[in-house]
Every structure is written in C-alpha cells, then in structure tokens.
C-alpha cells in the first residue's frame, strides 16, 4: 500500500474527529448537576458559587464555551480536571498505559483461546469441540463482565486465595514500582530486571484480563467459526482439495488466511468494546486506568475530564479502525488495490 492511500485513509478520519469534538462538548454539557455548586463545596453561598462559575467560564453561552474549548484543543490543552487539579491530558497520559495493558492482555487471552477454538469447530462441525465452542460463546455472551469479575474475585481471591488482593496494578507493599518507561508494568518490570515485580504485576493482571477477555471471546470465536465455515465451503477450497493439497494446507494456507479478514475486522470491533467495558472492570479491580478516572469525573460533573476521556476513546477508535484497515490491506490484495 502506497503512502498516498495511507494518507487518504488518515484524512478520511478527520470528519469523524470533528464530529466527535462537537458531540463530546454537547454530551458533557448534558450531564446532570452543576459543577460550580459541586466545587464551591457544601458551605458555599450563592456568591461564591457564582465566583466559581465565572472562574470556570461556565457563565458564558454555549457557543462561547465551545469556541474556547476548540481553541484550547488547538493548543493541545484539554483543560484542567477539577477533581485532581491537574491538566486532563496529563491525567490521561499517566493512566492510559494501565488501561491499555489490561485491554491488550484481555484481547490476547480472548484471541489465543477463541481463534483456535473457532477453527477447530469449523473444521469438525458437530464434534465435541464444536459443542464446546457453542457453549462457551453462549456463556461468554450471556454474563455481564462485572458479574463475572465479582464472581472471580469471590472464588479465586476470597475462597481459594489463588490470586493477590484485587486492588490496583502492583502490590506496593511487597514490590517496588519500576521506573516508568513504557507505562506497561509487564514491560517496565522486565526492563528494570525485577522478575519478582514482574510476577507480582502479572498476578494482578490475571483476573481482570480474564474477566474482560471472556466478554471478547464470544464474538471472536463465533466470527472465526463462521468465517472458516464460509471459506471451507468456498469454490477455491474445493479446487484445492481437487488438486489433492494436504488437509493442513487447505485448512491454513487456503481457508484460514481467507477467513482472517473477517476475524481481524471483528477483533477491531471487539477491541473498542473492550475499551468501553474497561470502565466496569477497572472499578471492580481498583485499576488506576482511564475508565475509573472517567467514572469519578462523571460523578463530579467534571466537564473537562469527561470530554477528555470521550475524546481519547474516539481517537483510539479512529486509530483502531485505521490499523484494522492497514492489516486488512496486508491480508487481502483486493483491499490494497481499491486504494
């Protein structure tokens, strides 16, 4: 794929980003509650509330507020979060790696389990694996993530004691935080050469990753199975079989690579679902990511923080779609040539 068509795809994302900026602004204004009252504190009188309102620029009309918001954005500022008193951008940048690490681990867990399961189920319809796949898909889709998360905590922490206390990314009583390089604790601990801390961080990740990953398992397994069945029933697989190609070649080189396109598309979609479900999982596991940040911001009617979070998610979503497009181009030459 040429850099030109890459640029075109990036440019295609700009209108959606503009839309996102407008919608986030309006949405955050639609939140119930008055932030000025909240931040003036319980002891404030009408005058001090008014003062706070003016200092936040909330006394201006919506169009004026919007212009100010856009100008700030143009300068790379998302405003200050009222709850933490820090610039929202700093907060998000500091917390994003925690969420990313959790989401990626969950996705990895889901893919490693769901893709082989889907392939095997399609290769042998109505076999034991096929039924297992169907059962897992049903269970995975039926139970809400936070419920599974709570169940897991009860079972594996409270009853069995297999995992450490589900509070945060690393138990800092036993382990020391590695210096931040990537913000991914699994990577940073290894870079610091601290295997103990690596193990500690991994142990903390297991439950939230699996709870989140189970949710992603169902769509990926179902899509893999369906895409494989379509590919295996296609004319070109019949040709490959007629030419006597081995079962393995037919299954992987012919069917699986063709099915991959649908699987990657689903993975992109699932990844963005996961970014959303993160909010709940982070809350259950005391995970210091952007999801829990957003929840406290919403509760406090913290406009700037909420706007920042939504904007971040939207940008992540756009980038994700771009990545899926690029990968699709690698897999399928036809996508490449459509430009």
């Amino acid at each position: 794929m040429g850099s030109f068509s890459l640029l075109r795809r990036v440019a295609g994302a700009i209108p959606s980003l503009i839309g996102v900026i407008i919608v986030t602004f309006l949405l955050s204004r639609a939140l119930p509650g008055d932030p000025a009252v909240y931040f003036a504190g319980p002891a404030a009188n009408a005058e001090s509330v008014q003062q706070v309102r003016e200092s936040l620029g909330l006394d201006k009309s919506w169009p004026e507020q919007f212009v100010r918001y856009v100008l700030d954005l143009a300068h790379g500022s998302l405003g200050n979060a009222l709850t933490t008193g820090q610039p929202v951008l700093d907060d998000l940048v500091q917390r994003l790696p925690a969420s990313m690490e959790l989401t990626l681990c969950a996705l990895l867990f889901a893919v490693v389990l769901a893709v082989p399961l889907g392939v095997l189920a399609a290769a042998k319809p109505d076999s034991l694996v096929d039924h297992l796949c169907r059962a897992l898909v049903t269970v995975g889709a039926a139970f809400p993530t936070f419920f599974v998360a709570l169940l897991f905590v009860y079972l594996f922490y409270y009853l069995l004691g297999w995992v450490p206390q589900p509070l945060g990314r690393l138990d800092e009583i036993y382990y020391s935080m590695p210096p931040t390089v990537t913000g991914f604790l699994l990577v940073d601990t290894l870079l610091a050469g601290d295997l103990e801390a690596f193990r500690g961080a991994a142990a903390q990740l297991v439950l939230p990753s699996i709870s989140l990953g189970l949710f992603a398992l169902a769509p990926i397994a179902r899509m893999t199975r369906a895409a494989m069945l379509t590919a295996l029933g296609s004319d070109f697989v019949r040709t490959a079989r007629a030419n006597g190609l081995s079962r393995r070649t037919v299954l992987f080189t012919y069917a699986f690579r063709n099915a991959l396109l649908g699987i990657v598309n689903t993975m992109g979609m699932v990844f963005s679902f996961l970014l959303g479900s993160n909010v709940l999982i982070e809350q259950v596991f005391g995970w210091p990511g952007v999801g829990s940040y957003a929840v406290s911001a919403v509760i406090a009617s913290d406009y700037a923080a909420v706007q920042g979070f939504i904007l971040l998610m939207a940008v992540a979503y756009v980038l994700l779609n771009l990545a899926v497009d690029l990968v699709a181009g690698l897999i399928d030459p036809r996508v490449r040539f459509e430009g």
Binding site: F236, R238, T239, A240, R241, N243, G244, S246, T253, N258
Partner: protein, 323 residues
Amino acid sequence: MSAPPLLAVEGMSLDFRTRDGRVKALDGISFEVQRGEILGIVGESGSGKSVSAYAIMDLLDDNAELGAARLDFAGADLLAGDRSALRGMRGREISMIFQSPRTALNPIRPVGKQIEDVLVRHGPVPRRQAKEKAIAALRKVRIPDPERRYDAYPFELSGGMCQRVMIAMALACEPMLLIADEPTTGLDVTTQAVILDLVRDLVDHSRMAAILITHDLGLAGEYCDRVVVMHAGHVVETAPVADLLARPAHPYSARLIAATPSSASSVDGLASIPGNLPNLLRDDLPLCRFRERCDRAIARCDSDPLPATEVAPGHLVRCWRPL
C-alpha cells in the same frame, strides 16, 4: 475397444441424507473413459453430472452415501484404497477444473503460488525449481507473459485467463485424466472456444484423457469423442458422438437434440422438453425416471427394470421402447 479403459464406473449409486429425507442423486451409473478420448457427460441441471465427478474425485460432503459395484482407475480400485492414497492421486493422476474460474481460485494468493502448491505437494520439487515449473505450466496453457502473470492475483485476470490458470494447475503434474465440469460457463463464446480447443489439443498431444461435463449438447458434439446422456441420476444413453447426434435412441436424447439451438434454427423453432426432473427425494420414483415426461411409455416401463440395449456397436440405450 479391446484395451482396458482408463476409468471404469459400474453400478454407482449415491444418496444424500438430508433433513427432508434421502436424495437419490445417482442410481446405477455405468460408463467408461478410454485413454486418449474426451468423454462428454450431458444432461440438464440436476441430472447428476457434476455429482458423478465429485464422487470419482472423493469431493462429496459427509452426508453422501456412495455405493458402486466397481470404480477402477488405471487398474487400481478407487473404492478399496484408503482415502489418503486417493488424496495423493487427486491432482496428480486425476484432476479437475470447475466452472466460474474466478471464484474457484484462491482470491488472496498469487496464481503462480497456487500452481506451486500443487507441484510441491505431488512431487519432490524444491521450491526454487517449483517457480520455474509453475511458469512453464502457465506457458503451456498459452498465457502470454507467464513470468509476469505468475505474481498476479485472480482478480487481476479475466475469467478466461483464470480458467487457463486452473487448467495449468490441473495439468501441472501431467495427470492421466482431466475432469472439466462446465469449464466455460460464464465465459464468452470466443473464450469458450479457445479454452476447449486448448483441452482438445492437450488430449490429442499427450497421453491424457478427459471428461467434459456440459449441458450444451452442441458443445459436446464439437469436442467429444463419445457422449453419456444423463437424466435424473440415470445414464440413459451412451454413444459415439456422431452416432448419437444422427440417430438418438432414447426419447430424452432426441428431445435434448431438438432443444439444442443451431445456426439453422430460430429461437421460435426450438423445442422444449415438457415436465421437470422428478423430485429425487420421492420414495416412489418410477423405474424409468423419464417415465412421467415420456410420450412413448408402454406398460413394460412400469414393471421391468431398465434394460441396456446395444442398438449399434458402442451405442447403448436404457429404454424399453427406443426410437
């Protein structure tokens, strides 16, 4: 015809188990393919032409139940051998090309690589030589500029080119038998002639035989040596092609010939065959499956199993009251 046939099918029956019952797709099919000939299998859609080929190639779905008194290929019994032996034979000794060539090729793999896959699978061919051989295979089916076409994807080639690629793939290992299942459906008339001329030429200049499956009797008349006419899972007539066209013995063959357009007749003058193929799900299929569409039926058609009458040397008909 004293030499043993290359392929001998005798008494082959095939049922599909479906949710609605058993589809009796083939019933007592027998035919032979001699070395160096093109055998045409002709019949309307649903008569069992393709499915017979799939049965020979072991490409049937799991719900198929195949039975045959004899299925011999080049002296080997295809029914006795285990399936992996047959898989090794597929693509090397017998290969097959299909209709709609553009979807019959892997859309995301360069065509040269697909030919290589077959070469590497069937012979001790090192990958480096495989590329040269694949290009040679493309050249053999007269694809212009084969070095460049090697890297092309199916969507970059025309339907005719894709069919040539598929033929190149099928012929890569120099099989003894090529089964062509409606190879020119969806191609324009000029391309159709080019493709079939190519097949004819390959048969004439190598030790290969071919089966051409088509619904077009005119096409069969032009390219085949002998023709098998099928109707609703029965072989109704087998004859040398000139013999069949001049003196069809089965009422169905005669109607098929009358329904084939030629340059002399106008569309208005074309005859159609009354009725439809009987539903093969039925449990009360008549002994002769053409019985309900036939205007020559006699009482015996309902009581006695189909005969196999030789009306001329090599011309067999399965009818109690042939023309």
